[in-house]
Subunit: 164 residues, 2 copies
């Protein structure tokens, strides 16, 4: 299992960043590759949602469970029904206050490819190839996803007049 | 100016991580490339220190000022006398509590190469080459430095019996 952590500083209060993170249906608006998000189940403590995402020009779909800790501003996600190459995918979004006006947003991933069948993952790749494809995709998407949340939260903070 | 942020989760309370960060003389013990640290000036609010560091087999030296915010557990550092290729180097160490037993440690860098003289930085490299060398060094050192602080803090936390 690989573990990665990525982070960005956001010029917006943690409450605004949190609102962006919790609004999973809004992901289709702020993350360009995300085509559609359907909430299958939702309480104050968790969400289960189907995501339809353009992964390198290929439409893929998976189901994620997101456990929501409002107090700590942490969302622990994991794919219940994984994307094609994925054996496991989970991690956390953490919105840590940096004073009143800024937030340290952290995104962690724990992942590994599917177990190969007849030496191949998804009928196409060696384990090493699948691992490298996932590693590169996680790297790319982490940077893009953090930037997208940062942009959305900073727009809202300016709109709310909370950051000059 | 380039801006980067790196992070790691540490299984130790923020107080222990903070103690490791503030003990700049201890850096020679925990960061293998750091040969020697001499404190030139120190108050409760800042430190000025000369660091002697092995950078890819070459001994380099610079002077850093570190402004210490005990309340927020943030150290803002900047090189007053820069390393050979460096035009500016500054950033922050941030120890953000993740509950009582864990810490999100963040290390940011803002940097750029020196202005070329007769088209060369330090008499040797084009601006683009110096920029790429610095970028690669910051990437490598960030990962290594975070891992070193993590290891030192987790050792101390186990020693202090605060994490089982």
């Amino acid at each position: 299992m690989r573990h990665t952590e990525h982070t960005v500083t956001i010029d917006a209060p943690a409450e605004i960043v949190w609102d962006v993170l919790v609004d999973v249906e809004g992901y289709a608006r702020i993350f360009p590759p995300t085509q559609e998000v359907t909430i299958l189940e939702e309480t104050g403590e968790y969400q289960i949602a189907r995501l339809v995402v353009d992964v390198n020009g290929q439409i893929q779909s998976w189901v994620s469970r997101r456990d929501i800790d409002v107090e700590r501003k942490v969302i622990a996600y994991r794919q219940l029904e994984t994307a094609p190459l994925m054996g496991h995918m989970g991690g956390e979004w953490r919105a840590l206050p940096l004073g009143d006006d800024r937030t340290q947003l952290v995104l962690t991933h724990d992942f590994c490819p599917r177990t190969p069948v007849d030496g191949k993952v998804a009928g196409k790749f060696t384990y090493e190839e699948a691992d490298e494809l996932l590693r590169a995709a996680v790297e790319r998407n982490s940077v893009a996803d953090l930037a997208a949340v940062k942009a959305a939260a900073e727009r809202q903070a300016v709109g709310a007049g909370r950051v000059s």
